[in-house]
């Protein structure tokens, strides 16, 4: 599997607006988010603070609030907003013919960044 392969993880319609779905991967869960405007984002499902599952948070604008301690994480860059510092690795995502595609590298072991 090369760096530039894309992997079909499901139908775009199966990700609810202002919500998220989880893709299980060897390096840890990946959360696929859909903002109210329809934009898709994908990040590793771990808050940089205490590892909370971001996929379970409330999505607003292009950000998600972690359910454990209310850190707000930007969906585009994975960075904590406001006074908090930390970053979750993002995963390249695109939609083609109604299917969600994730960058293949992220689904391979060891792709997770700090």
């Amino acid at each position: 599997m090369s760096e530039d392969t894309w992997i079909d993880v499901g139908a775009e319609a199966d990700v609810p607006p202002l919500g998220s779905r989880v893709v299980r991967a060897p390096a840890g869960d990946i959360a696929v988010f859909k903002a109210a405007d329809g934009t898709l984002f994908a990040l590793f499902d771990r808050c940089p603070h205490k590892g909370g599952p971001l996929s379970q948070g409330i999505v607003h604008g292009h950000a998600v609030t972690c359910p454990l301690h209310n850190w707000v994480i930007g969906l585009a860059d994975g960075a904590a907003q406001g006074a908090d510092h930390g970053c979750t690795a993002t995963v390249a995502v695109k939609v083609e013919a109604g299917r969600v595609l994730l960058a293949g590298a992220a689904l391979r072991t060891g792709a997770r960044a700090a």
Partner: protein, 817 residues
């Protein structure tokens, strides 16, 4: 022995006069009041917010019953005076009460003018004058049908906006070519019409009413040009005239109103008149500021100060329709010796006009942007020569002399004698001095001590700015904080406006109330979702995307991303079968921890998210439902064993706890609600640190509330005592409903009680049986759609299935590579 003072009428003017009199000459008079309306003194200017739903009647009461008792005043409610015998110095009321007086004050106010067209007396034709009119309009508005308001003046437009907010389709017909032509010039009148129409109210100007149509009740209005407007409600708001009938019959001098001198004395020296019924210096008045001035003068004269005299002054006009800002003061007719400075911003809907004569302001009309109203008024009042700032005058105070655009700078720059509160004639110096001298720290304190912003409330912002100026940042901390960073509005305002504008979805609230973010944040969305569930039961569809994760998946998230599951055990009672089912579930799903909770439940900790529906299915088949251990809603009712087993038990506390839990499960509340029922004062269920608690005693049930045992620790307060289980359940349900309707999201019952006051809660839930019943009925109505087990829906009906399954699983496949 005190002199006998009798007052006919109990409106705002005599109320204010009494306040002054009690202050200046306490004990001098033995006071008796006759009120034709069956109620206490309330703020009539605030009827429009009551009509639109932004305020309740209780919030506009000026003097409650307690005030009259405290001051030894006899108040006859619903007693209209039918005769004044000046020779015998007595008055007689319709129910037949006759009372002697040494001094008599007539304050009978005004009566609405009714156009004598055919059909004007049909049922369904109302005026807009008192609370009875408002109540009749609210009743009519329930039909959600069509209303016609005759009269496009201040009252007519406020009535139209209120009825529209209550869901009616409203048309305003106005005789003149532009709205509010007595207070606004045509340009501002046009902008006003546009703003009113944008709210969905139809406006027909230049319209002459020919007849009101209908057989047994009103069916429509016919205009002179033949147009027929169907309507089930017609409100006539075409003006008022002084109510001088009783004075005329008593032989007092009357022209348009009851003639008085500048000391408010009528042609009989022992009789004073004030308010809208009085005519002084050729003027009759309808706005509150001059009426309060009359009250001040009358009180001074009654207290023996003959130097006090009434002086005419112009009064500004403001419209109390949320979202429409307009202000007008003084003279704005065109004239050869007058000059205008005009500023228009059509896109922003702003129009400002200042009328000058000899370089002095004689009139001001502001529409869409009224922040400088006070400054313009002050310049006019002091007849300041404005030649030096002429070029920048119209831009307002912030542009004069290079002062910064700090919001408080404008207030800071005002002179000490600049008037802040027009209704009560309170100037800046009085307010800042009261704040400093008396150590006032809250808006309520300032209102109580100075009356500033205590009437129509439009100057509240200015008063708050003065407090910030005087107290510094410490005041800002005390002001109502905004709900979150997405809005300036606080919780209370948002709740009012949701009801007033009948907003029924999260996007509608954000749109109409001007949210600054596209779809809110994790703070406001759950709050709005709760407010909408509470206000529109059965109608609003829960927005799962605005639910915190625990409420979205009906389990409690743990630090490792697993969940805990707590089945309901009514009143903390379980059975061997239930325990077996719980044990089987724990084994089957390898649930690592099983623990007993503080609320007498069993907690299964460490359940994987994808197992939740299957766990619930097994528990559900054994008869258990969700224990809502995750909900901002009813959690648990903790009980002791009660008289069935305990040698000290006085009542069946376990049975009552189970009944309470069965009645109340499923209800959503601002924050979690935990109950306790103890069978005797030894209090083994620890009911006195619960949100709501019951202590059983031999003679019945003591109902407690507002306890806490978390971050804060608080003993409960006693709400009341009840004689039966049924009464206890009804009171607790009514209390919960009041909390549901008034509480701010995440505000526990004890904090809500601190904020609104235990007395106000007791008044609604205990003292007033009608209110209690209405609260109880609303609670039960809401329960009809709330008591659905969310676990069963998800375990057996596939609700929200996507929540519990991954979109795709590559962990195994990739790992095997």
């Amino acid at each position: 022995m005190p002199e006998r003072l009798v007052i006919v009428g109990n409106g705002m003017a005599p109320g204010r006069m009494l306040e002054h009199l009690l202050d200046k000459a306490p004990g001098r008079y033995d006071v008796t009041i006759f009120n034709a309306e069956p109620r206490v003194n309330y703020d009539r200017i605030m009827l429009s917010p009551v009509l639109s739903g932004e305020k309740d009647y209780e919030q506009i009461v000026i003097h409650g019953d307690g005030w009259y008792i405290k001051h030894g005043i006899t108040l006859y409610k619903g007693h209209k005076i039918v005769a004044v015998d000046r020779a015998a110095k007595t008055v007689t009321s319709e129910p037949g009460e006759t009372v002697d007086y040494d001094k008599l004050v007539i304050a009978t106010g005004s009566v609405p003018f009714i156009i004598p067209v055919p059909g004007h007396d049909l049922p369904g034709v109302l005026s807009y004058r008192d609370l009875d009119d408002v109540n009749a309009m609210l009743l009519a508005a329930q039909s959600r049908q069509k209303a016609v308001v005759i009269g496009g003046g201040l009252l007519g437009l406020e009535a139209a906006a209120g009825l529209q907010a209550r869901g009616m389709e409203v048309t305003v017909i106005h005789l003149m070519p532009t709205l509010m032509e007595r207070q606004l010039d045509p340009a501002a009148g046009y902008l006003l019409q546009k703003a009113v129409e944008e709210r969905g109210i139809r406006v027909i100007t230049g319209a002459n009413t020919k007849a009101i149509l209908g057989d047994r009740r009103v069916e429509g209005v016919e205009l002179a040009d033949g147009t027929i407007l169907p309507a089930t409600l017609v409100v006539m708001a075409v003006g008022i005239r002084p109510n001088a009938g009783i004075a005329k019959e008593a032989g007092l001098a009357v022209k348009r109103g009851i003639l008085v001198d500048d000391g408010m004395r009528t042609s009989d020296e022992d009789i004073l008149a004030l308010g809208e019924c009085a005519e002084v210096g050729g003027h009759v008045y309808g706005l509150v500021a001059p009426l309060y001035e009359m009250a001040r003068v009358a009180a001074a004269r009654l207290a023996g100060d003959d130097s006090a005299g009434f002086v005419h002054s112009d009064t500004p006009t403001k419209l109390k329709v949320t979202g429409i800002d307009l202000f007008s003061l003084g003279d704005f007719a065109d004239g050869d010796d007058r000059e205008d400075i005009v500023l228009r911003d059509a896109r922003a809907g702003v129009y400002k006009r200042v009328i000058l004569q000899d370089n002095r302001i004689i009139g001001t009309v502001l529409f869409g942007e009224t922040a400088d109203a006070t400054w313009f008024s002050d310049l006019k009042k002091k007849a300041v020569d404005i030649s030096e700032m002429r070029d920048t005058l119209i831009f307002g105070q912030a542009y004069q002399g290079g002062s910064p655009l700090d919001p408080t700078a404008a207030v800071a720059a005002l002179a000490d004698d600049a008037e802040i509160c027009g209704c009560n004639g309170v100037c800046k110096g009085t307010i800042t001095k009261a704040i400093a001298d008396k150590g006032l720290t809250s808006l309520a304190d300032v209102r109580a001590h100075t009356k500033a912003s205590a009437s129509c409330g439009t100057c509240t912002g200015l008063v708050e700015q003065l407090m910030t100026l005087t107290l510094g940042e410490s005041f800002k901390a005390a002001a109502a904080p905004s709900l979150c960073g997405c809005t300036e509005l606080g919780h209370a305002d948002v709740r009012k406006l949701i009801r007033a504008h009948r907003l029924k979805s999260v996007p509608a609230v954000m749109q109409e109330l001007g949210w600054t973010t596209p779809n809110g944040c994790a703070k406001c969305r759950p709050a709005l979702n709760y407010y909408l569930i509470c206000d529109w039961p059965g109608e609003y569809r829960d927005d799962s995307r605005s639910r915190y994760i625990n409420e979205r998946v009906h389990a409690n998230i743990q630090k490792d991303g697993t969940y805990s599951v707590v089945p309901r055990m009514w009143g903390g009672v379980t059975t061997p079968d239930e325990l077996r089912a719980i044990a089987d579930v724990a084994d089957k799903f390898k649930i690592p921890t099983v623990k007993v909770t503080g609320g007498q439940r069993i907690d299964l900790l460490g359940v994987r998210k994808e197992d939740l529906p299957a766990v619930w299915a097994d528990l559900g088949r054994a008869g258990m439902i969700s224990g809502a251990a995750y909900a901002k809603g009813l959690r648990t009712v903790k009980t002791c064993v009660g008289k069935d087993w305990c040698r000290f038990g006085t009542q069946d506390s376990t049975g009552l706890g189970i009944k309470l839990e069965k009645r109340m499960w499923g209800s959503w509340t601002p924050a979690k609600v935990k109950l306790g029922v103890s069978g005797c004062p030894r209090n083994c269920a620890e009911a006195t640190c619960k949100d709501i608690g019951v202590i059983c005693v031999d003679s019945g049930y003591e109902i407690h509330f507002a306890g806490a045992a978390g971050l804060d620790i608080r003993g409960t307060q006693v709400l009341c005592k009840a004689a039966s289980e049924d009464e206890t359940i009804q009171i607790i349900a009514a209390l919960t409903q009041l909390y549901r309707e008034q509480g701010h999201y995440l505000e526990r019952i004890y904090k809500w009680a601190d904020r609104v006051g235990v007395e106000s809660i007791r008044a609604a839930v205990v003292d007033d049986p009608d209110k209690r019943q209405a609260l109880y009925d609303r609670f039960m109505e809401s329960q009809k759609t709330a008591q659905v087990d969310p676990w069963a829906e998800r375990a057996f009906q596939g609700v929200d299935a996507h929540e519990f399954a991954p979109l795709a699983d590559f962990s195994f496949k990739e790992a095997a590579e």
